[in-house]
Assembly symmetry: C2
Amino acid sequence: MDLGIVKTEYFKIEGELPLECGKSIKDIQVAYETYGTLNENKDNAILVLHALTADAHAAGKHSEDDRKSGWWDNMIGPDKAFDTNKYFVISSNVLGGCKGTTGPSSINPNTNKPYALDFPIITITDMVEVQKKLIDFLGIKKLTVVGGSMGGMQALEWSVNYPDIVNRAIVIASTSRLSAQAIAFNAVGRNAIISDENFNDGNYYDKEHPTQGLGIARMVGHITYLSEEAMHNKFGRDFKNKPSFDFGVDFQVESYLDYQGRIFVDRFDANSYLYITKAVDYFDLPKKHGSLKEAFQKTKARFLIICFSSDWLFTPKQSKEMVSALIQAEVPVSFVEIQSTLGHDAFLIEVENQTKIIKGFLRGQDGKA
Amino acid sequence: MDLGIVKTEYFKIEGELPLECGKSIKDIQVAYETYGTLNENKDNAILVLHALTADAHAAGKHSEDDRKSGWWDNMIGPDKAFDTNKYFVISSNVLGGCKGTTGPSSINPNTNKPYALDFPIITITDMVEVQKKLIDFLGIKKLTVVGGSMGGMQALEWSVNYPDIVNRAIVIASTSRLSAQAIAFNAVGRNAIISDENFNDGNYYDKEHPTQGLGIARMVGHITYLSEEAMHNKFGRDFKNKPSFDFGVDFQVESYLDYQGRIFVDRFDANSYLYITKAVDYFDLPKKHGSLKEAFQKTKARFLIICFSSDWLFTPKQSKEMVSALIQAEVPVSFVEIQSTLGHDAFLIEVENQTKIIKGFLRGQDGKA
C-alpha cells in the first residue's frame, strides 16, 4: 500500500543560526514532510536523512497525476520497511539544498539577492543542527535516525551529538569519513562547475546556468554510484546505434550518463552541489572526536549498519570499521553486508533485503529504552 | 647505465594512407627514436608502444641539461629490461598524437590549416598501420612488440595482424577491450573538453586553448590510474594547509589532481585527447575477430601478459581472459600478476619486478623461431 497524497510543509528558524565555520545564517527555512502519526509519548518518530541531491519528498505523491513518488517511496509507507502504521516518519531537505530549505539559491535577507557564494560553508553538523530545530518544533522526545550515503553521515552525527534523543540509528551505505578517492571525485565535479563559462562566481541565477559543468559533475557521480559489474550488465560495450566515427554519444553507457547529466541540471542548483559535496568531504567523525571509538562512546543509540558488497564509493570496509569501533565502544550494533552487484545505488534499489533487515531491527528494539 | 643523449627522428609516409573509418590521411609524418643497434639479421628489434599521452621519447635525454629522461627510461637502456646492448629498441609517437606524428594539430596539406576536427577518426588498427610503415622503412624482419595500457592494445593488434613479423608480444596492464566503466570515464573527459568555452569546435589553435576542460579530463584520468589504496597511502585525508572553508584546493589529493591537470595542458593537445581516447574506446579485439580465441588463432607470437593486482582500469580479470583465450588458441603464453598497490600506474613504476620477468621471458625465447 502506498501513502497517497502528501504535502511539503515549511518551518522557519527565527533569528541567526550559528554554524561550524564561525558564520551564521538568518531566518532559515526548512522544507519537510511527515508520514504517519506521532503517538502520545512522542517517541515513535523516524527521521529519514537524504543523500547528496534528494529532498524532503521521500514518499507518496504530491498530486494524483504525479508521475513519480518520493525518492524512498519503496521503503516508506504502510507495511513498508518504515511502516507508517506504526511510525511517524519525518523527512526534511538539508541546509544548503535547493528544494525548499535555505541554500545558496535562497534570497539573502541582508541583500534581497540570492546568496550564491556569499552563502557560508556548511557542514554535516550544521545540517543536523537545522534538523534538531525541526525535531524540537515537532515536539519529538525519542528518535530513530536513518540515512543512506550522506544521509548515513547525518545519522552518525545525530547519534553522537544527541544521545538523549536518538535511541536507534540505521546507517546504510555510508562512512564516518570519505576516502581520498571519493574526495577526488567530488573535487572533479566541483572543478567542472566552477570552470563552466556560465558559472560567473556563482552569480548565474538571472542568467544562463552552468549546466555543462553540473552535467559533467553528475556524470562522474553516476559512474561512482554504479559498480563496474552493474555497468557491464546494464550496458556492456553496446553501441546506441552503430559506431558514429565522431565525438557524439556512441556507446549505451555514454547515452546513459549523458541523459543523467541532462535531467539533473533541470532539478538541481550548481551552487548547492558545491556546498553539499564540500560538507561531505569535510565530514570526519574520528578526527572530530579523537577516534571513531571515542565518537561512539558518546552515543546511547542501538545501531544497524548496512552496506553493499559492490559499493566502491562507501565501501564495506568503511562500514566494518564503524562496526568495529561501535563494539569497542560497547554500543549495541547489528551489521549486514548485502550481496549486491548494484554498487552504491543499491541503497535506493535493494528494497526486499533492506526491508526484511530493517523491519527485524526495528521490531527487535521497539519498547527498549 | 643510461642511454645518454638520444634524438627524435622523422619519417614520412608518402601519399594517402587509408584508414579503418574509410577516409585517408596524406603524407603522414612519424616521430620516432631508436636505441641500440639493429643486428645483421634485422631480427633483434623491439617496438615499444606508448600509452594514451606519451610520445616517441621513451628513453635517454635529448640534451645534457634535460631535467627528465624519456617516459620508460627505467626500463630501456644498457642492461635494463629492454637491454640496448642486445636489442634494437624502436619507439614512435602514435597517429593522432601531438608529439611529432601527424595528428589533429598538424597542418592539413589540403587547407594549410590545422586539421582540428577535420582529422578523421582513427583506431588502434590505424596506429599499427602507421608503425608498420616505419618498421618496413627500417628494414626489420622480426619484431618483439611491447606496450602497457593502450600500448598493450597496439601490441595485441600487431601480433594478430602481422603474425609473420611479430614473434613475441609483451602486453602489460592492458585489455582486449575496455570495460563500460572505462569508456564512461573517457566519455566524461571528452565531455569536459568539448564543453570548454574555448573549444570552439576544435578550432582553437590560434586562440585560447580549452585548458580547463583538458585539465578536468586529466584529473579524471589520474583518479583511475591510481588505486584507492595508493591514494589513501599517498594523501589520505590530509589537508594542504588547513580547511579553507571555501572552494579552493583544500585536501592534498585535490592539490595533486589540480597540479596534474595544470602541467598536462602545457604538454598535450585537447583534440589529440579526443581522438586517442576514442580509438581506445573503439578497440574490441574479440568483436573484430568473432571471439578472442579466434583473434589469437591468427598470431604466431609467444606472449607475456603482465597485470597488477590493484589495477581497476585495466583489470587482472581482463588479463586473465586474454590468457585463457591464448591457451585455448594454443598460443604459448606466460602470465604474471604482480602484487602492487599502485594501480594502473604500476606499469610505469614497478620497475624491479617487471625487469626480472621481462628479462627472463626475452632470454628464454631468444633464438627460438
